[in-house]
Symmetry: D2
Subunit: 181 residues, 4 copies
């Protein structure tokens, strides 16, 4: 999550940045991870969208749409909010009807616990695949979006550009939709 | 499935009516059951569509979209074919991206085996919830379509108008989307 | 969760009771709900275990095993911990191999948001069905455990003895295992 | 499935070998695929069992437990029957309580349709992960069983020893249990 959206989140939820930092050291936070996909008329996933950002060292980092569930917020509302924040208001995401995530990714400051790693916090993230049918316009300068085929996604090149074990989460998403090569 | 669509199926698959009858006595058939739903922008199911038909005795029978998977046909193609057959070509169904059904309904000639009953055959049916965003025009005279809220669906009145244990399958679909009252 | 286990949790996680109260007003907490079940050799659920407690007014309250996921704790470890706490060390629970819950129950202080209600907090609970094969000995005086058939569980009498929408969660669990009447 | 078990199946279901061959050319058959696993007390998969067989050319072929669902047979009974046939009567498989498979593998004579390939037939297979807690004694001379860690399973060496796309099904099973490397 970018610094900007982090601050917005904090404001929305009336939780000061200091308090959020404090909570992060003592409670697991609730997150959502969403892989936006393009599907054909039979529902087959033909492309997966990954957010990307130029890193200070010139490398590229790729990631799913991801963010915190706020106090008082439904999980499906959090999904919609983060998708619109990162893909723009015209993305037309089709939030899944079932609250059942395809998996639960547990991020820990210690990378050895689960393979999912977040240096800032312990986050329990509900992971979804979300078809989008509209135009995606990444809404901040820092982020771009790139569509790739399932085959490209599952390759080593993409995996090397993802962090925190999210390459593994991506392969789990591909497995769930029957598109893991 | 109506007689007309049955014959169409048989023709498509080059399986004579006699051979199908014969196979039905000796092999479980592969079926799909699909509950068409209307969803809001957060993916919440706000209405479920049930096919209905006037019975000779004046009663009404309600059912999901349902039908056989043909030889050589993908499950997602069978879903699309049966949804278009029963809801018309403009229904715009959003076939799920994952091949994982929300449950598997096993229909037997003997109603006591599983609670799902089909006097004609043993069918193993992959059950899905399918959002539709277009206009639904039931395509044959015999069938109509009625939209109901999850609350209405789960009531005894609707259950009494369904057969073969499909009222139970409907409640399982509502549970899956978090809308079982 | 009983007062005793609450305090234990707080101690384990080095989070003071005051701090937990404070966090509860500003962050959704991560919970697990587990329905212990007895299964036959084919995996069919033949009985569901519900915890029960005599209320001050003489009524009985029934509930699944439920509790918080601690900072740094894996979800499957939290499941094991709460099951052992409520069912005793000889219950031999078979924690599911997949992290995918059958549903996610979102509890809010406002009962109208999702139908799941917790006056103390906003909790996002991963719900599982957990077969247990050993002897269950509810470990505190306040709690007992009663086994019921799926049919009994789904009846109005049991529903009236459950709170916070957990009767609905129970019916969703029954639907998931194919045993919703 | 070995020749011996094929014949047994045919006899049990009163379907002659010739009739089965005939049906195979015209109807999709219902199958189950089961990956036997060893789990720790938290449900984490620590090993996956793969059947293996020496091929005429000296190579080794690895496969999950797999077989047909018979007419009149419940899916969970078919799972139990095939697991006991291939792993022996003391394997003590824990058949999943939910009929929801982790995926549906569609095998076609044409390998290009879905990536799952069976030269003999179109089979729609419900795929499950099944913990086994007892002693596994592969019951026929032709078959052996080898336990491997998830990491070993996901490697290229194992993939090259599997056929019909079942290496992909294995990786999908690992993804489902959160153990895809």
């Amino acid at each position: 999550m970018s610094l900007v959206s982090e601050i917005t989140d904090a404001r929305t939820s009336w939780l000061s940045r200091e308090d959020l930092e404090s909570a992060r050291e003592r409670l697991p936070l609730v997150y959502v991870d969403a892989f936006p996909v393009r599907v054909d008329e039979r529902g087959t996933v033909v492309a997966v969208g990954l957010l990307l950002r130029a890193m200070p060292d010139g490398s590229i980092s790729r990631a799913p749409v991801s963010g915190r569930v706020l106090y008082g917020e439904r999980v499906r509302q959090a999904l919609l909010r983060h998708l619109e924040k990162d893909l723009g208001p015209m993305a037309l995401p089709r939030i899944p009807s079932s609250p059942q995530p395809f998996t639960v990714a547990e991020y820990f400051p210690d990378p050895s616990v689960s393979g999912f790693h977040d240096p800032r916090q312990h986050a329990v993230s509900l992971a979804f695949v979300v078809p989008v049918s509209g135009d995606c316009v990444p809404s901040t300068d820092a982020l771009d979006l790139q569509w790739m085929t399932p085959e490209e996604c599952a390759g080593d090149a993409v995996a090397m550009e993802m962090t925190g074990g999210q390459d593994r989460l991506l392969r789990m998403a591909l497995a769930y939709v029957g598109q893991l090569p």
